[in-house]
């Protein structure tokens, strides 16, 4: 072994030009592989931090009636099926040791009605219990204007991104109730138009589903303007509203539920206490109920106390405990939910998030492809250079074979040369890559592009390398080394003593 490495090392020094060419390729390849792996790891970590921990958890429960798994960024107007078995789901989730937190949410599209615009706009609503939401996602956004909503009552939190969009669409600039116009937060166009700027602290929204368009148009008071800590341009599409108002907006309360909200003396007055309020709006001449398409929402049994937690939702976001097997947890959860006949299924976050998860996967795949392509180019160049080197040294190799060197010795010599070059130049490339990965976040490189934000894994380009990431790069380098040495080795061991003599 010592002899092999001695000869290999001296051959490298003897053929400095070729060695340098291979070395530069290996250095560049290892550097780019390291940074590439760092970007992939950073992206994965960013996604975990920002999407899983900051927006929707690891797993999402949705109704079995929901056809597509994508419930977050689905096509406009495509409604999300309701879940009305949350009470059972809650018990099941509470009994699963791998579940860390869970949060039921309403999620659907709402039509925005404005006095200032004839054309309605649209907003994605996330109906939540604000207190529970804060427990699940304690620091995913900051309230930059107004305040976090107090418990009870209607409330709407508009992300800065959505506010800018609403301004473009409505010409209305939303500020929180009791808040004033903050010039620094104004969009450029709004600032230019400040004299004629229409400012509002409320917005009327009408829930939309593909089954029925509820006639419940709710005026939401804007309680705050929020900015997500990361991926604001993606998460910023979603306005947070209190779950009760959300249900009301989406028509998720049955008539009986509505009746339950009428004070008792008024019911007496109206003599409606036991009446079916739906019948008031029924009548064949007016509306034929579309029982097939309308969400099958069960009315609460008479006399049963209804709480926000027991009502209708569209999804449940679930965070898992650290260290649990994701696939196992998903499988167990689905089994438990099916056995309990909850009518819901558990879906991985990347499927439930639709384009976000899809794009994350595409970007990750593209990066992987890039690194693989880099491998191939490096391998081809190294193979070519080493093969030429083998052929140029036919006489020397043939002589070695003539005096008794086995094929394995010749192969080892070539592998040794490539291994030394890989270890030195590739190792330097990895070290330089690690240094670059450490230094890049210090520059706080940012982007306004949604997709690049996904690539960045957050607001800043933050590649990340763990020990396993470095080990992966070293392993990839090893693979490149072995693959690159295989063909030249084959050529070299194919050289016979006779070839050496013939060349002489």
């Amino acid at each position: 072994m010592k002899l092999i490495f001695t000869i290999a090392w001296r051959n490298i020094l003897r053929h400095k030009g070729k060695s340098l060419v291979i070395g530069i390729i290996l250095f560049t390849g290892a550097f780019l592989m390291t940074v590439g792996n760092g970007v992939i790891s950073g992206m994965a970590a960013g996604i975990e931090k920002n999407i899983i921990n900051g927006f929707m958890g690891d797993i999402v429960l949705m109704s079995d009636a929901q056809k597509a798994d994508n419930i977050l960024l689905n096509m406009m107007g495509s409604s999300i099926e309701p879940i009305n078995t949350y009470k059972s789901i809650k018990e099941i989730l509470g009994a699963q040791p791998y579940v860390k937190h869970f949060l039921p949410v309403g999620k659907n599209l709402a039509m925005m009605l404005s006095e200032n615009s004839a054309t309605p706009g649209y907003a994605y609503l996330l109906g939540v219990d604000f207190a529970e939401y804060r427990k699940m996602f304690p620091d995913n956004f900051t309230v930059i204007e107004g305040a976090y909503p107090a418990p009870g009552g209607r409330a709407l939190l508009i992300p800065t991104f959505a506010r800018d969009e609403f301004y473009d669409f409505y010409n209305t600039w939303f500020v929180p109730e009791g808040g004033s116009l903050i010039k620094e937060n104004l969009k450029k166009e709004a600032l230019a138009n400040i004299k004629n700027l229409v400012v509002s602290s409320s917005v009327v929204m009408m829930g939309m589903t593909s089954g029925i368009n509820t006639t419940n148009d709710i005026r939401f008071p804007v309680k705050g303007i929020i900015k997500y800590g990361a991926l604001n341009q993606i998460f910023g599409h979603f306005c947070l509203v209190d779950i009760d108002s959300y249900r009301e907006c989406l028509g998720y309360f049955t008539a009986a539920d509505m009746a339950a909200q009428v004070p008792k003396d008024e019911k007496k007055l109206l003599n409606l206490e036991s009446a079916d309020l739906d019948s008031m709006f029924g009548g064949e001449a007016m509306i034929v109920p579309d029982t097939k398409r309308a969400p099958k929402i069960k009315a609460a049994p008479a006399g049963e106390a209804k709480t926000a937690g027991d009502g209708v939702y569209n999804a449940v976001f679930i965070k898992l405990n650290g260290g649990v097997s994701y696939d196992d947890a998903l499988a167990k959860l689905n089994k438990a939910l099916t056995e309990a006949k909850t009518g819901v299924r558990a879906v991985p976050w990347n499927k439930a998030s639709g384009p976000i998860g899809g794009m994350a996967l595409i970007i990750k795949s593209a990066l992987f492809l890039f690194v693989t392509l880099l491998f191939c180019v490096a391998v081809i160049i190294i193979v070519n250079t080493l093969t030429m080197s083998a052929l140029e040294r036919s006489s020397e190799i043939g002589m070695m074979r003539a005096i008794g060197a086995h094929k394995t010795f010749i192969a080892g010599m070539f592998l040794g040369e490539t291994a030394i070059l890989s270890a030195f130049f590739g190792g330097s490339g990895i070290l330089a890559g690690v240094a670059a990965v450490r230094v890049i976040p210090l520059f706080k490189i940012t982007t306004a592009n949604d997709m690049l934000q996904l690539l960045y894994g957050g607001n800043y380009f933050s590649p990340l390398l763990s020990f396993s990431g470095i080990a992966l790069t070293a392993f990839q380098l090893l693979v490149v080394t072995v693959i690159a040495a295989l063909y030249p080795m084959r050529v070299a061991v194919g050289i016979t003593p006779l070839d050496a003599i013939s060349r002489d």
Binding site: L3, A402, G404
Partner: protein
Amino acid sequence: MNIIEIKELKKDYLLGTTIVPALRGVDLSVAEGDFMSIIGPSGSGKTTLLNVIGCIDLATSGSVIVGGREITALNDRQITEIRLNKIGFIFQTFNLIPVLDVMENIEFPLLLMKKPASEARKRAEKLVEEVGLKELTAHRPAELSGGQRQRVAIARALVTNPDIVLADEPTANLDSVTGASILELMRRMNEIEKTTFIFSTHDSNVLKYARRIVKIKDGLLEKEPAAV
């Protein structure tokens, strides 16, 4: 006792679609400890004969027994082992390993045999002294003259104590004085190490060093002239 027994050895080369016979039925016996020269004009088949004896080339037909072993039926690994353990080579163009110094070049076959480094060094030191290169042990081949390189090649060929040393025109690239000294050295080593030497040449001036001369022409051995 014969160290080499060759019977009806034929070797053909294929040039395109043409078969060119290089050896056309050679019978040869070489005694142990002999110092033999194969002479003949260029293209007569002497190099081919040496290559077949040295397990560098394969016979087309016939029998070649080296050190009591039929070599025509061996696989690559077995043939390599014979080259390593039984045969020493001296090439016309010296063929030293350019990245190793004199001492390392001489040690090289022993290290291939996986001999301990100290043992290899000891044996190499003995031979480097015998070939008169004691002062040049740290020099690389490029820093040596042709004669010095061939001395290194002789030491390397002998370092494993082979049964046979084959030398293909060992003086062809050397001036006459150096060539003579190399042949003198080979003969001396033959006497010291008791190793069988077979060398090819087409230079009649070197024949006086051989104890036995075998003449080859058109792939066939001619009647042996009287040894000097």
